[in-house]
Amino acid sequence: MAKELLRMDHITKIFPGVKALDNVNLSVEEGEIHALVGENGAGKSTLMNVLSGIYPYGTYEGDIVYNGEVCKFQTIKDSEQKGIVIIHQELALVPQMSIGENMFLGNERGKKNAINWNETYGEADKYLKMVGLTESSRVLIKDIGTGKQQLVEIAKALAKHAKLLILDEPTSSLNETDSRALLDLMLEFKKQGMTMIIISHKLNEVVYVADKITVIRDGSTVETMDCHAMEINEDRIIRGMVGRELTNRFPKREGVELGDINMEVKDWTVHHPLYTERKVVDNVNLNVRKGEVVGIYGLMGAGRTELAMSIFGKSYGSGISGTLKINGQEVDLKDAKAAIEAKLAYVTEDRKGNGLVLTNPIRVNTSLANMKGVSDKGIIDKDKEYQVADEYRAKLNTKTPSVEQNVGNLSGGNQQKVLLAKWMFTDPDILILDEPTRGIDVGAKYEIYCIINDLAKAGKSVVMISSELPEILGMSDRIYIMNEGKFVGELNAEEASQERIMANIVQAGRGE
């Protein structure tokens, strides 16, 4: 039996009005990878914030026992000194600075007030090698991809002499290849004796790396599973997370008659907005029928979002060529307004960046894309607007005290529902949903899938972009596979499988 490195004993953390953590226990042994799973808002991040000293000793109840001694961290610095280093979900790197500068940010090498650049870059290179990066540490962060940036974050943690590494959703912005590489790196570290805690929504990854899995639900620990002592699969974890058997993660869509082709894209080519000679989308052909859900699967960076946004009123790219037919009519949509008028809707993957106005209430966000629907001659009918927002709240089961609540205060799943409501209110015929379930918990995902099915049943055409294979397979009537700007395959639901889709991508990669 290995030595216990960390024990969090009866941790209770109360925010005004909410008990975020209720008597949570967590025990981590030296040299293991311990996964922390739970729905959004279950309290995983709060627990890690308690551990790393973001919530200082005294603001919570219970004890943190690390390496056999009770710790009373006041700041992050205190916990880092002990070797507890947390890597947050959002990358905290300065794009205009070099890798080396970022790695020792706040922890600079050299004398006080005088940075020793040779030591900085020399040490940075050493740690970069440990995480398998071949880049020089003098390269600027903005010039490397997100996958590599995530590795820099890890190298940065190593440079702090981490003994216990906490990774909060480390793969949320990575594609499958980079994710896999990262997970393998974690296993490699484990061999060298590092202890790690990983928080993740992606259960397949959890199953892949974890030695133990602790499930948190509603601020309490539900159970800890030992992956070596028992058979673990995703359904077993989900059962713990939601507290019920999810017999089917994807609701059935039955009795939907496919209608005529509603949207057809031919020979669609899009160039990068700045590097105009670079093709981001290359000669893509796509069609979708009424009542059909078409999936577009591709790794991140394959050009899926770019394809969608260029169709939606040329909102992305330059030198766009090809034809777009809606309902058999060729159209030229010059901006988002024209696209909305052509009954097209694009539900973005980036809720916070370009989907919602977080500082405004649900009511305002719901009506934003269709102000005509709640106004007369440019004057808003606030009562009607309230009514519309409230109807969608009830219809989509958005959990909020009222539609006057600012969207920024909602959880990811509820934000996604507000975003969907906004676009449903424009009464579109064709909806392009870009990663509709990213970063939201299992329960809310199911509800989103039900909404998608309802849309299809109502005769709408749905194009769903996703990088989660089970979701694509579970929801689509037909699947396009995209790789490096091109469509490299098209499969019907019956013939599609995880293996066939990946095979398609691998073949396309070799064909180059």
Partner: protein
């Protein structure tokens, strides 16, 4: 009423309460001088330019904390042009006023185009105007007048429209028109408040409680009647008050009830999301600065009429006064939040502090120090209150 509700009502009206307290403070410190009819009148005539200019500034700030640094210098320049037209070229004052407004439109189109379509950061584009118009205005004045100032005292009609009193009476008499207008305003406020509530209840929406409505009505009526009574003993309604009230009402309507007004807020909150919702965001930015220039032109008319002259110092620091009024009035420095009512409270608060300190005989330099402190305190309060409520 439970405690939480009371706290939230207090927080919402914090600036209003501060305003009342500050007013009482100065009234006590000046042994009642502050409460004299003459000083009510001064509060309005001295600060009219702030209310008007801050309205335009509010619209700019809503779009994302954008400001216009050039408005003060533009007041100087446009005043010089107006003075030359009316006094030296002998152009009919009405025509001159229209020409001045047109020049405002032209400047607004240029500025709006540079900011919205050429993507020049607003503070840089307007910094250029800040430097250029002050110089240009001063140069025009010194070329046309030996004193560097053009007197407009002879333009009685112009002065009457943009300064002066409506149905003026001597100070020792009570101005009846003023009182009647005050009563009418009270009736309008009370009737619209109640009918709005009745309408909401009829349609089955959540409406404010009757007690809250009554309290609000009583306070509004008291404030309006106090002003009406005081102004009635200071010679009547100042013309600028009419201009100010009309502009404030129009923009209150635009920001609160119109679609285009809504877009100013959503652009400030998230420009990309607004653009992808089919809104022409560049057009809105263009309007913000076109509007600002027109508002500045109106301000110029009022300011030149008040001083009865066009001079090189006109408009100095006006842009800062407008920005300060907005910020103290709770307009977000990052955009997306703020309203006309708050801005009016902010502008009045600064005006009261100015007037009170002058009456107390506080040194002008120390007045600036106090104003700076108030500005900072208001922002700190705002941010702390925000942080608390979001926790």
């Amino acid at each position: 009423m439970n405690k939480n509700k009371a706290v939230s009502v207090l927080k919402k009206n914090a600036m209003l309460i501060v305003l009342v307290l500050v007013y009482i403070f100065f009234t006590v410190m000046t042994s009642g001088q502050m409460f004299q009819a003459m000083n009510f009148n001064a509060l309005i005539t001295q600060n009219a330019y702030v209310y008007i200019l801050a309205t335009g500034m509010l619209m700019c700030m809503l779009t994302g904390g954008n400001i216009d640094l050039s408005c003060g210098s533009f007041v100087c320049f446009l005043g010089a042009v107006g003075g030359i037209m009316m006094m030296i070229k002998q152009i009919n004052p009405a025509v001159s006023v229209i020409l001045m407004l047109l020049i405002g439109v032209v400047y607004g189109v240029v500025l709006g185009y540079l900011i919205a379509y050429v993507d020049i950061p607003p503070w840089i584009a307007t910094l250029a105007g800040y430097l250029a118009f002050r110089g240009w205005g001063t140069a025009l004045l010194s070329a046309n007048s030996s004193t560097g100032s053009i007197s407009l005292a002879a333009q009685k009609g112009f002065l009457a429209v943009f300064s002066g009193k409506i149905f003026s009476t001597p100070v020792n008499q009570t101005n009846v028109v003023c009182l009647v207008v005050g009563v009418l305003a009270c009736v309008i406020v009370v009737v619209t408040s109640f009918s709005e509530r009745a309408n909401k209840i009829k349609k089955g929406y959540e409406a404010e409680s009757l007690v809250a409505l009554l309290v609000r009505c009583i306070l509004s009526v008291a404030a309006i009647m106090l002003f009406a009574y005081k102004l009635a003993h200071a010679g009547g309604i100042p013309t600028v008050l009419v201009w100010v009230v009309v502009i404030l009402l129009i923009y209150n309507f635009i920001t609160a009830r119109t679609v285009i007004g809504r877009y100013f807020y959503t652009i400030g909150g998230n420009r990309e999301a607004t653009r992808l919702s089919g809104v022409d965001t560049r057009k809105i930015m263009f309007f913000a600065y076109l509007n600002m220039a027109v508002i500045t032109a109106i301000t110029t008319l009022i300011v030149t009429a008040r001083f009865q002259a066009a001079n090189a110092q006109a408009g100095t620091n006006f842009e800062m006064d407008a920005i300060a009024a907005c910020v103290v009035g709770g307009v977000s420095a990052y955009g997306g939040a703020g309203n006309i009512f708050g801005m009016v409270i902010g502008a009045t608060l600064i005006g009261v502090i100015n007037l009170g300190m002058s009456l107390m005989g506080v040194d002008a330099n120390w007045q600036k120090v106090v104003k700076g402190g108030v500005l900072l305190a208001a922002v700190v309060f705002d941010i702390l209150a925000d942080k608390k409520s979001s926790k």
